[in-house]
């Protein structure tokens, strides 16, 4: 984890533009928006307002430059803006200079020839194709005219001045764009009578460079200090971008929130659990294979098409290309376990992976044995929640809140104790057994961890929070574990929908008569689209709500340094 330092600086208002410009060139700091923190500084700082004329002037000049480029038929583009000597000047002065340069270029006087050029081209065309009789007066005059036009054409084309003018215009354009961005940053700062105060986050490695640049831009007339993030203060986080096949999962995770400073980044773990849960609900060898093929096709197209040009839905599909492959592979795996090939057609038989007490892992067809499926679903739910709780423990240790560390341990004990009790003594229907035969088990596996949880929370935060948290954990654990029953529900619905199309097509015991192929194909397409979307959203919901609520706060701020674009 890169360590971040916060720079606080006071500079004169005449120097602020130079400072922001210098830091923007380096692209290493992220300015703090002071407008939201001004309450803390009441009495010392007032909000700094940049006069609005600056932005309006910037857009005026930019549109003038655009118009000039169009009039001269020049190509737009980018240029480096270091050509103008502006390093130590204020934004208003720079803009005045730019306007002067623009006037000097005398665009209007150059534009006139280009209007003539069009007319002259037309004239040349007509003269060129006309047969001219040299012997007549008119004929000789026309030939003379043609020669003159040719000469003029060549002389204008030889003017390499147009190339220079283009460079100048582009330089001015870059300058004005940069000044506009500087003015935008300036509007977020706080000011006293004659000076401006700003704070910025910078990675430790670039700290020296940033402070040097500030000193240089102000000729030493500044007060700069730096400090590490205070305990409890949110510092921006640089997260390593995920490898390409996890990109879709990264987008899904970060749209729910960015990891904060010491939190584990769940993207890589999600890349494993998401396909597994998707595969359980969408278990089917044939449809899984179609998903893999679709994903491979999309991945191939991703290299050919530019993402910006695609429509919205196509863009999402292209971003998720590798994800489709993973989902398809998981669907194939669970399809083999549950024995589904385009539905429970009987082509392949379920494979039993194992058995833990009353929990069968595979070896049954969900459609015919729903009770086994729901037990399996709840087991998977308990495992997934446990993973979340283990991550909570890891986060607690990383944030050095050791007093909170026993809480996830007690919670895990409660979860698995409850599950064990339910599986050995039966469910709600035999609740009386829980309180007679299983009293000892109840005490040890259920009541003890609950009391410990309340105790540890009370030690860490306070007695009222302890009891509240205890009740909350009890209700939340029950609710979230039962929520995984949707694995059974959606898996069953998927199976039954496929079965419907198989029956319509007349498929029995693994024989696919030729007449059934179009029916099964139609059914597969419908199921792929509808069930695919629904199962995807529900898997996402399981991750966002049931899983993230255990360990992920998502309150982080990404580190986006101020850089000229």
């Amino acid at each position: 984890m890169t360590e971040m330092r916060k720079i606080a600086a006071i500079v004169f208002e005449d120097d602020i533009d130079a400072v922001i410009r210098s830091l923007g060139e380096a692209g290493i700091v992220q300015f703090v928006d002071m407008r939201q923190k001004l309450d803390e500084w009441k009495g010392t700082l007032a909000p700094h307002t940049v006069p609005t004329q600056i932005q309006t002037k910037c857009s005026e000049i930019l549109s003038k430059i655009d118009a000039s480029l169009k009039e001269l038929n020049l190509q737009p583009g980018t240029a480096s803006y270091e050509k103008l000597e502006i390093a130590h000047r204020r934004t208003e002065d720079v803009l005045v200079d730019v306007e002067k340069r623009l006037a000097e270029l005398q665009i209007e006087s150059l534009a006139k020839p280009s209007k003539f050029i069009a007319d002259r081209e037309q004239l040349l065309d007509r003269l060129g194709t006309m047969p001219i009789n040299e012997k007549t007066d008119v004929g000789r005059k026309l030939l003379e005219l043609r020669r003159l036009l040719d000469k003029e054409k060549r002389s204008i084309e030889e003017k390499s001045k147009l190339g220079e003018i283009r460079e100048d215009l582009l330089t001015l354009q870059e300058t004005v764009k940069a000044e506009s961005q500087v003015a935008e940053v300036e509007g977020k700062l706080g000011r006293t009578a004659k000076t401006l105060y700003f704070e910025a986050w910078v990675p430790y490695d670039y700290l020296k460079e940033a402070m040097e640049r500030i000193s240089k831009a102000t000729d030493g007339n500044c007060v700069v200090s730096e400090e590490p993030a205070k305990h409890g203060e949110k510092q921006p986080v640089i997260v390593k971008p995920a490898p390409s096949f996890m990109q879709a999962f990264e987008k899904l995770t970060f749209s729910s929130g960015y990891p904060s400073a010491h939190e584990v980044n769940p993207v890589s773990i999600m890349a494993i659990t998401f396909p597994i849960l998707f595969g359980i609900m969408f278990a089917d060898v044939g449809q899984g294979a179609i998903f893999v093929a679709l994903g491979a096709l999309l991945a191939y197209f991703k290299r050919k098409i530019k993402l910006e040009e695609a429509g919205d839905i196509i863009r999402y599909l292209l971003i998720g290309a590798e994800m489709f492959i993973l989902l398809g592979l998981a669907a194939i795996f669970w399809g083999f376990v549950f024995g589904e090939f385009f539905g429970p057609s009987g082509v392949i038989h379920p494979i039993e992976l194992g058995r833990i007490g009353p929990f069968y892992i595979g070896g049954f067809e969900p459609m015919h044995e729903p009770m086994k499926m729901i037990r399996f679903a709840l087991l998977i739910g308990a495992v997934h929640i446990s993973l979340g709780l283990i991550l909570k423990l890891v986060n607690t240790v990383r944030e050095r809140q050791f007093k909170h560390a026993p809480i996830p341990v007690a919670w895990l004990w409660l979860l698995w104790g409850g599950l064990f009790m339910w599986s050995s003594l039966g469910g709600i229907s035999s609740i009386s057994r829980w309180f007679t035969e299983g009293m000892l088990m109840l005490a040890g596996l259920f009541i003890a961890p609950l009391l410990l949880l309340i105790l540890f929370t009370a030690i860490a935060e306070g007695p009222m929070e302890g009891i509240g948290f205890g009740v909350e954990v009890f209700a939340e654990t029950l609710s979230h574990t039962l929520s995984y029953g949707r694995l059974m529900a959606l898996g069953l619905v998927h199976s039954v929908m496929n079965y419907l199309f198989l029956v319509l097509g007349g498929v029995e015991h693994g024989h696919f008569p030729p007449m059934s192929i179009p029916v099964v194909a139609t059914g597969t397409i419908l199921v792929l689209i509808i069930e695919g979307l629904i199962v995807f959203v529900h898997t996402l919901r399981l991750h966002w709500i049931e899983w993230f609520s255990k360990f992920y706060s998502g309150e982080g701020i990404p580190f986006k340094p101020f850089k000229f674009t």
Partner: protein, 149 residues
């Protein structure tokens, strides 16, 4: 009392009819809200789709219970089995009805709030998600009752 077969069939009617109406209500209200917000801020729409999809899930739960009841149709000869089927239908109907009401209100408010302040999305979505959990509870109980037919 009613003929056992008829009772069982009424259970099936309820188990597919009412959830479909609840799902439609949720989708009507949330879909309208989404379309309205989409004109102003299309980039938020992809996250807001969850309200419509969770609404649609209600119909799926109803479909599931209806499937299971139909598979038990031959055993609706005794009044006991038939009344269990009827009750299962009523349970899933009430569960999805409640969830549909919750999703409509919470969903349309979520969509409106997210349009104005996108950072409040993750807190407000809990309302929608917990409403949908109500339907799951109904589903599980109906399931267990059908298991005993």
């Amino acid at each position: 009392m009613l003929d056992p077969n008829l009772t069982g069939l009424i259970g099936i009617l309820l188990s597919i009819g009412v959830p479909t109406i609840s799902a439609a209500t949720a989708i009507i209200i949330c879909g309208t809200a989404m379309a309205g917000v989409g004109t102003e801020k299309p980039e938020l729409l992809s996250r807001l789709i969850i309200t419509v999809v969770l609404g649609e899930a209600l119909a799926i739960y109803g479909l599931l219970i209806a499937f299971m009841l139909i598979s038990k149709l031959p055993s609706f000869k005794t009044m006991e089995a038939a009344s269990k089927g009827l009750m299962a239908g009523i349970i899933i109907a009430v569960g999805t009805g409640a969830a549909g009401a919750g999703i409509s209100y919470a969903g349309s408010s979520l969509i409106g709030a997210t349009a104005e302040r996108p950072e409040t999305y993750s807190s407000n979505v809990i309302g929608v998600v917990l409403s949908e959990a109500l339907a799951i509870y109904g589903l599980l109980i109906a399931f267990m009752i059908i298991g005993t037919i």
